[in-house]
C-alpha cells in the first residue's frame, strides 16, 4: 500500500473525477446525476488524502472532512429539490425539466 506512488493515486482520482463528470453530462436521471457529482467530490477527497499521505501532515485530512460535511449539506438540499421536481413532474428525468430556455 505504502509503496504505491503518488502519481497512481492522482491518476485514479482524476479518472474517478472524469467518470463523475461524464456521468453528469450524459445521464438523464436526476438522482444518477447527483450521484455523479458526489463521485466527483469523493474523487477530490481521494486526491487530497493522497497528497496528505505523501506530505505526512493532517491538513489534507481536515480538508477532506470539510468536503464531506459540505457535501452532506448539499445532499440534503439537493435531494429536497429533486423531490420537489418529482412532485411537479411525477418524474426525475432531466429532459422533462426544460421550460425555461432561450
Amino acid at each position: 500500500m505504502s509503496g504505491i506512488p503518488l502519481s497512481w493515486w492522482l491518476t485514479l482520482g482524476t479518472v474517478l473525477f472524469g467518470v463523475g463528470t461524464i456521468g453528469v453530462l450524459t445521464r438523464r436521471n436526476a438522482l444518477v446525476v447527483f450521484m455523479s457529482i458526489e463521485l466527483m467530490l469523493n474523487a477530490v477527497n481521494l486526491i487530497l488524502l493522497a497528497f496528505a499521505r505523501q506530505r505526512g501532515d493532517e491538513h489534507g485530512h481536515v480538508l477532506a472532512f470539510f468536503i464531506i460535511a459540505v457535501a452532506a449539506a448539499e445532499a440534503a438540499v439537493g435531494l429536497a429539490i429533486i423531490l420537489s421536481v418529482f412532485r411537479h413532474k411525477r418524474s426525475v428525468n432531466l429532459d422533462d425539466v426544460r421550460a425555461l430556455k432561450h
Binding site: T21, R98, L100, K101
Partner: protein
C-alpha cells in the same frame, strides 16, 4: 468683478436645467402661464447673462473658467464639471441661447394647444442645458455629457407625439444612427485619452498637441497613422450628430417632431455640434492632413448630394431638412480646408436664417392646418404677409445674395477652399507640414470648390422654388384652410422678425477675426496664406451662380416658363393638342433640365439613402445583432446538461490553450 463674471457661466448653464426640473416635475399642476414663464425666462436670462459675459470678453479680458464642482477628485484622477468661456464658446453660447430663446417664444404660440405643453418645455429646457454643456464644457467629459444629453433630448422631442407610430419610428432611427456615430466619437475619445495619458481638458490637450510640441518632438504619439485614426473616429461621431454622408439619414426623418424643435435642434444648434467639436480640437485635426482632406471631401459631397435631393422634395420641412444637411456639408468643407473661422461663421449665419426658415415654415404649416405639401399651398403672401417677408429674407440669405448673411459666410468657406488649392508655399515644415497638405491635395480642393459652387446653384434654385410655390402662384390647397387659416400671433411673428434682421446683419460680424485666438498656429498660418486665382474670381462666380438659380426657379415656377404652355394653347389650339400642349412644354423643360436632375437625384435617393444607408446601415447593424442573438439563443435550449457541456467545453478550450 471677475468673480461675478465667472458665476455668469453658472447662470447660463444651470438656469435652463432649473427650468427643466420645475416644468418636468410640477408643470402639470403649475398651469400654462407659469410653464411658459419658467420655460422662456430661464433661457432669456441665460441669453442676457451670455451677453454680459461676451461683453466682458470683448473688452479684451482673458477667457475664464468656472468650476461647478469637483466631479472626480481622487488620487491621480481629476475630472471637473468645469466651464470655459473663450471666443469660440462665447459665440456658440450666444447663438444657442439667443436663437433658443426666440424659438422658445415661438413655441408658446405654436404648441399652445398641445396637451403635453409642460412636457414639451421641460424637454426643450433640458435640451438647452445639454447643449450648453456641450459648448461650454472645458473638457471632453463634459462635452460627452452634453453630447449624449442633446441626443437624448432630440430623441425625446422627435418622438414627442409618441402615439403616432411613424414618429416614434423616426425617433428610433435617429437614435440608432446617432449610436453609430457615437461609437466613433467614444472610441476616438478613449484613444485620445489613452495617448494623452488621461488628459481631458482642452487647454492641456492643446499644449500637449501644440505646434511647439510637434517641433520639439514631444507629441504624445509619434505616428501620424494613430492621429489620423483618432481624428477619423471623432469625425464619425461628428457625421452622426451633424448628419453627414453616410449618417445623414436620420435628419430628414427627424422632421416628424414639432417644427420649433426642428428649428432649434435639427437646424440651428445640435446638428452643428460636430463642427463645433472639430473646431474646438482644431489643434488635433491640423496634425492629420488625411483626416482633414476626408472631412472636406465628405462635406462637399454631402453639400451637393443633399442639395440635389432637395430639388425633388414636396414636403416643406423635408426641403429645409435636406437644405440643412447640405449647409452642414459646407461647414465641414470649411473645417476640412482649415477655414475654421469661416465654418463657425457659417454655422452662426445658418443658425439665423435656417431657424427663420423653419419657424416660417412652422407658421405656414400652422396656418394651413398641418398641411406640409407645398404643391397644396400657393399665393400665401396674401394670407401671411409678415411670414412671407421674413421667409423671403431667409431665402435670400441662404441663396447667397450679396449683402445678406449667408453670402458672406458661404463666400468665406469657398474662399478658404479655393485659396488652399493654390497655396504651395506655406512656410511650414515637419512630419505633417501643411505644405505637404496643401501640395498633395491642391488640385482636389479646386474640385471641391467647384462642387461647392454647384451646390450653391442648387441651393438657390430649390429654395426659391420652395418660396415661389408656397407664396406665389395660385392657391391649390383645400378651401377650408384658405378661408380659416390659423393666423400667427405676436409670439410667433416677433421671433420671425428678429431672426430676419439677424439674417441680414449677421453677415457683418467679423467671426473669423474674432475666433483667431482659439486657433492653433498652423491653422492661423493656413488662414493667412489663402490666395489664388480662383479665389479672386470667386465672388463674381458665386453671385452669378446664385442669380442663375433664382432666375431658373422663377422661370419654371412663376415666370414665362409656366405661362408659355397656356399662351400657346390659346393661340394655336391645333398645335396645342398635337405638340405644344401644356404637358409637352412641361415635359420639355423637365425632360431637358429638371428631369435628368430629378432622375439622378431620385436614383441617388433611392439607392444610397433607402437601400445602402437605411437598409444596410440603419437596419442592418441592429439586424445583424438581433439575428446573431436569435441564433445563439437557441443554444440555450433549457437542458441543464447542455449547460454543463458548455462548461466542460470551456474547460477543454482552457486546457488546450494553457497546456
Amino acid at each position: 468683478m471677475s468673480l461675478q463674471v465667472e458665476s455668469l457661466l453658472g447662470i447660463i448653464v444651470f438656469l435652463p436645467l432649473l427650468g427643466a426640473v420645475i416644468n418636468g416635475l410640477a408643470g402639470k399642476k403649475l398651469g400654462k402661464g407659469v410653464v411658459t414663464f419658467v420655460g422662456c425666462a430661464t433661457v432669456g436670462v441665460a441669453f442676457v447673462a451670455a451677453l454680459f459675459a461676451w461683453l466682458h470678453l470683448k473688452s479684451g479680458q482673458q477667457p475664464f473658467h468656472w468650476l461647478a464642482w469637483n466631479w472626480i477628485d481622487a488620487g491621480s484622477l481629476h475630472v471637473n464639471l468645469e466651464y470655459y468661456f473663450d471666443h469660440l464658446s462665447a459665440l456658440m453660447t450666444l447663438v444657442v441661447t439667443g436663437v433658443g430663446f426666440l424659438i422658445h417664444v415661438f413655441s408658446v404660440g405654436y404648441m399652445g394647444e398641445d396637451k403635453s405643453y409642460y412636457r414639451y418645455f421641460a424637454y426643450l429646457n433640458l435640451f438647452m442645458f445639454s447643449m450648453l454643456n456641450l459648448v461650454l464644457g472645458s473638457n471632453m467629459v463634459v462635452m460627452f455629457l452634453g453630447w449624449e444629453g442633446v441626443g437624448l433630448c432630440s430623441y425625446l422631442l422627435i418622438g414627442f407625439w409618441f402615439d403616432d407610430d411613424l414618429k416614434a419610428q423616426a425617433g428610433q432611427k435617429a437614435f440608432i444612427v446617432n449610436r453609430i456615430g457615437d461609437f466613433g466619437f467614444l472610441i476616438g475619445m478613449f484613444l485620445l485619452l489613452f495617448y494623452a495619458d488621461g488628459t481631458v481638458d482642452y487647454l492641456q490637450l492643446q499644449s500637449l498637441f501644440s505646434d511647439q510640441a510637434r517641433e520639439v518632438g514631444t507629441l504624445p504619439l509619434r505616428d501620424s497613422l494613430t492621429i489620423t485614426a483618432i481624428c477619423l473616429c471623432l469625425f464619425v461621431g461628428a457625421c452622426g450628430k451633424s448628419a453627414q454622408i453616410p449618417l445623414y439619414v436620420w435628419l430628414p426623418d427627424a422632421m416628424a417632431g414639432p417644427t420649433p424643435v426642428s428649428a432649434l435642434i435639427h437646424a440651428a444648434t445640435m446638428v452643428t455640434a460636430g463642427v463645433y467639436m472639430i473646431t474646438r480640437l482644431n489643434f488635433l485635426f491640423m496634425l492629420s492632413p488625411i483626416a482633414m482632406a476626408t472631412i472636406a471631401t465628405v462635406g462637399a459631397l454631402t453639400a451637393i448630394f443633399a442639395a440635389t435631393i432637395g430639388i425633388v422634395q414636396r414636403d416643406i420641412k423635408k426641403v429645409l431638412a435636406y437644405s440643412t444637411v447640405s449647409q452642414l456639408g459646407y461647414m465641414f468643407l470649411g473645417v476640412g480646408v482649415g477655414a475654421f473661422g469661416a465654418s463657425v461663421f457659417h454655422l452662426m449665419t445658418h443658425a439665423f436664417f435656417k431657424a427663420l426658415l423653419f419657424l416660417g415654415s412652422g407658421a405656414v404649416i400652422h396656418a394651413m392646418h398641418g398641411e406640409q405639401d407645398i404643391f397644396k399651398m400657393g399665393n400665401l403672401r396674401k394670407l401671411l404677409p409678415i411670414t412671407h417677408i421674413t421667409f423671403l429674407i431667409g431665402t435670400i440669405a441662404i441663396a447667397g445674395v450679396p449683402g445678406f448673411a449667408g453670402f458672406f459666410s458661404k463666400e468665406a468657406i469657398l474662399h478658404g477652399s479655393a485659396g488652399l488649392g493654390l497655396t504651395t508655399d506655406v512656410a511650414l515644415t515637419g512630419p505633417w507640414g501643411l505644405s505637404e497638405y496643401a501640395g498633395v491635395f491642391a488640385g482636389w480642393f479646386q474640385v471641391l470648390t467647384v462642387v461647392g459652387l454647384v451646390a450653391a446653384l442648387c441651393t438657390a434654385f430649390y429654395m426659391f422654388r420652395l418660396y415661389f410655390v408656397t407664396f406665389w402662384t395660385d392657391y391649390r390647397g383645400d378651401r377650408h384652410s384658405w378661408d380659416h387659416p390659423h393666423k400667427p400671433g405676436f409670439a410667433m411673428e416677433i421671433p420671425l422678425m428678429v431672426l430676419a434682421v439677424l439674417s441680414i446683419v449677421g453677415g457683418y460680424f467679423p467671426v473669423s477675426d474674432w475666433l483667431a485666438p482659439i486657433l492653433s498656429r498652423p491653422a492661423q498660418l493656413l488662414v493667412e496664406n489663402h490666395d489664388s486665382a480662383l479665389s479672386h474670381m470667386l465672388m463674381p462666380i458665386s453671385i452669378t451662380v446664385a442669380c442663375i438659380g433664382i432666375v431658373a426657379a422663377w422661370f419654371l415656377y412663376v415666370g414665362p416658363g409656366r405661362r408659355l404652355p397656356s399662351l400657346f394653347a390659346s393661340r394655336l389650339s391645333w398645335l396645342h393638342t398635337v405638340v405644344f400642349n401644356k404637358y409637352f412644354v412641361d415635359e420639355l423643360y423637365h425632360g431637358m433640365i429638371v428631369r435628368p436632375v430629378q432622375v439622378v437625384a431620385q436614383a441617388l435617393f433611392l439607392v444610397v439613402d433607402r437601400v445602402v444607408i437605411d437598409g444596410i446601415g440603419v437596419r442592418g447593424a441592429p439586424w445583424v445583432v438581433a439575428m446573431t442573438g436569435r441564433m445563439i439563443r437557441f443554444v440555450q435550449n433549457g437542458e441543464v446538461q447542455r449547460y454543463a457541456v458548455a462548461m466542460v467545453v470551456g474547460l477543454a478550450v482552457l486546457v488546450y490553450f494553457l497546456k
